[in-house]
Amino acid sequence: MKSLAELQAIKDKMKDKVVLREGSSDIRVVVGMATCGIAAGARPVLNALVEEVNAQGISDKVTVSQTGCIGICQFEPVVEVFEAGKDKVTYVKMTAEKAKEVVTKHLIGGSVLTDYTLKDENL
């Protein structure tokens, strides 16, 4: 079993970093985790985002968080990207694979993946 001693070691390592991180996130990524989202597959999407953000080393400027029903249940899993000074981007019918692409191409590369976004004609 993974021991508490290992957790202690993680704590010692993270302690210094935490101070730097607070309040420094530029981008907020939000996943809808209400009944509609969960049933449609939001859990693996969220986990893929959390993993990829860390794997790419951008966790100091990107926060991944959860919210309730966004109101477009038929398009779940839904992921919203909020960035200061830019329009909100709403990705629909997400999968873990698409989520990883959003991290590398949008959050890092800066270009919105319009193939996955919600279009006006869908509404």
Partner: protein, 183 residues
Amino acid sequence: MKELSLNILDITENSVKAEATLTEIIIDETSGSLTLTIRDDGFGMNKETLAGVTDPFYTSRKTRNVGMGIPLLKLAAEQAGGEFTIESRSKDEYPDSHGTSVKASFDKTNIDFTPLGDIVSTMTTLIQGHPDTDFRFIHTFPGGTAELDTREIKAVLEGVPINTFEVIRWIEDNLKSQYSENS
């Protein structure tokens, strides 16, 4: 829902929304049955609201605290030859002992039983999204137990957020190793 662990994630989100400080997820599993209890100390519901929550067409519109989640779990239990009960004490009526308890039992041999699925992922998802509330998880199954208490983890962390990526990974590995040691 494809997995029972997704129902658990969904129902526990209700506890978090009800401002629970502690939510307990207890799974008692034998070779033939599974009993799930989700118990919180949140603000609870009054009798009127409670009577309506198992109705899929019920909504309290003003607050939208309850939707399809409870009816879906009830259906999953009942179609698998099990039972579903929900009890609640509202904060207004019981200021010192409020909260909600949801209990569902399943006959694992029933063809319509939904497998538990990735319960570890459900726990890490809950902790990642709700670092400020506490969860206690105990799963007893033939041959062993897997458990977790975020209060114990936070005591070790001394202020390092529990939803730090490395900590979530540790929680995931810790739970997984409890299952593999016991199987």
